[in-house]
């Protein structure tokens, strides 16, 4: 690859992928010689995260927190809790870390690979989540009080935070451009490759389909939330992992997949999760926050918000359906869906 105005040819980024924290971890670097170091740094970061924040490990720090009393926490768990509470505040409680009991009741009480895919037993409804404001974190993020009866789940934000942390760490250590993807939550740092990092989009981060759009980013993060992955069945009904804290139930299907770009992966993930829960209100909500997004509804219709680029199948056969908020939100109905 050649940068504009440059006569030097740059090598393509190189990367590696491995399974970690119940999903796929991937790291790419612009300096091939630093790939092994980058991979080791990512593995180390994910191991720290898992030991601190996994509710599926009996020996994790968060599993060991006693309820109903102030407990000291490590800097990493403190940061992760602070990020989760900030996400809740920014979304008016839509992305709420106190949905743990609802997830457990729905059957997501172990690493997803071990969750029974079809259980005859119905899930007893838990009602609304206890509420994020009941988790108290001291000003320095060094002590936390989780009330009795509240199960904290950090899954919505911890993975994205880990991507941000790892990307920054690797860029600083390896002095090159880096992309970290954790299950499709993407963070980049350092100088990007010529033309930027190209990210393919779809319902599934592990498999592509003909016509999948590709976008480029040069900084920040990109995250996709989808109700088509991490699903299982209870009593004949399909349930998924994005729980609405207002009901304690999986979000009602409106958007199939939402992708958001933001200044970092954590904010992108927070917004994409909130968008799934917001349903029809999501495009305007995203536009008001200047978060470019691509939303695909359950019928395959695509809505673009806040400057998301058009191109490829996102415009092929499209017809203008509506425009609002100064043109920041457009809905394009793609003939026959995307695929």
């Amino acid at each position: 690859m050649t940068r504009p105005g440059s006569t030097m040819t740059e090598p393509d980024p190189v990367g590696m992928a491995f399974d970690a924290i119940g999903t796929t971890a991937e790291v790419l670097v612009t300096e091939p010689a630093r790939l092994d170091e980058a991979g080791a740094l990512l593995r180390g970061e994910l191991d720290l995260l898992d030991r601190a924040c996994s509710r599926f490990r009996a020996d994790s720090e968060i599993s060991g927190l006693a309820a109903g009393a102030w407990q000291p926490v490590s800097p990493l768990l403190g940061e992760t809790l602070a990020v989760a509470l900030r996400a809740a505040e920014l979304t008016d409680g839509l992305v709420d870390p106190t949905i743990g009991t609802a997830l457990v009741t729905l059957g997501y009480d172990r690493d997803f690979a071990a969750v029974p895919r079809d259980s005859a037993a119905p899930a007893a409804p838990t009602g609304p989540a206890p509420g994020w404001w009941r988790v108290l974190l001291d000003r320095q993020g060094r002590q936390v009080l989780v009330p009795r009866g509240v199960v904290v789940d950090l899954g919505a934000t911890a993975k994205a935070l880990a991507a941000d942390r790892a990307a920054a760490l690797i860029a600083a250590s390896c002095h090159c451009g880096v992309l970290v993807s954790l299950g499709g939550d993407v963070a980049v740092a350092g100088d990007p490759p010529a033309g930027g990092w190209r990210v393919g989009l779809g319902d599934d981060h592990t498999s592509s389909a003909p016509g999948d759009p590709v976008v480029t980013i040069v900084s920040g993060g990109l995250a996709t939330s989808s109700i088509t992955r991490r699903t299982w069945r209870r009593a004949g009904r399909t349930v998924h992992h994005i729980v609405d804290p207002r009901t304690g139930l999986p979000a009602e299907p409106f958007w199939r997949t939402v992708t958001v770009a933001a200044g970092n992966c954590t904010d992108a993930n927070t917004a994409s999760t909130a968008a799934i829960l917001l349903g029809g209100d999501a495009p305007q909500w995203l536009a008001q926050r200047r978060l470019p997004a691509r939303l695909v509804d359950v019928a395959g219709r695509i809505t673009l918000a806040a400057g998301w680029p058009t191109g490829g199948n996102d415009v092929a056969g499209a017809r203008w359906d509506r425009s609002r908020n100064g043109g920041a939100v457009v809905t394009r109905h793609v003939a026959g869906g995307e695929r």
Binding site: P13, G15, T24, L28, G68, W70, A82, V83, L85, E89, G93, G127, P128, P130, G131, W133, R134, L136, L137, D138, R139, G141, Q143, L145, R148, G184, D185, V186, P193, W197, R198, V199, G200, L201, G202, D203, H205, S208, D212, V214, I217, V218, A223, T224, S226, T228, R230, T257, A261, A262, G263, A271, G279, G280, R289, L291, P292, G307, W308, G311
Partner: protein
Amino acid sequence: MDRFAGNRTGGHPTQQSRWRAYHRENALRRVRGVTTWVTAGAATLAVALGGVFAASRALAANDQQNGTGTQQSGPQQSGGGSDDGGQNSTQQNQGNFQPPAQNPGFGGRSGSHTRSGGS
């Protein structure tokens, strides 16, 4: 289309009450920015402009720490709080979403470095 209209306006009265409490609590958190903290001696007292809310929160926190509290059965009033150890209950990293420095560009059809999708 508002998928949640039914949840807001219908349902069992108890459910409606919990909904109202949930959103009232969120509204209170938004005015937390005017909360002022004063340290006095060994104890840290929360003095909020909505002081009555801070006081109830502090009592709840103290109950929890002293082992006299029971599982909270509903949303608690908020606006700050304290405990005997002088820890201020608050959140960190306040602020707004950080939009991208540069919006995504169209990536064409030349393949991709990675994928973003459901996981």
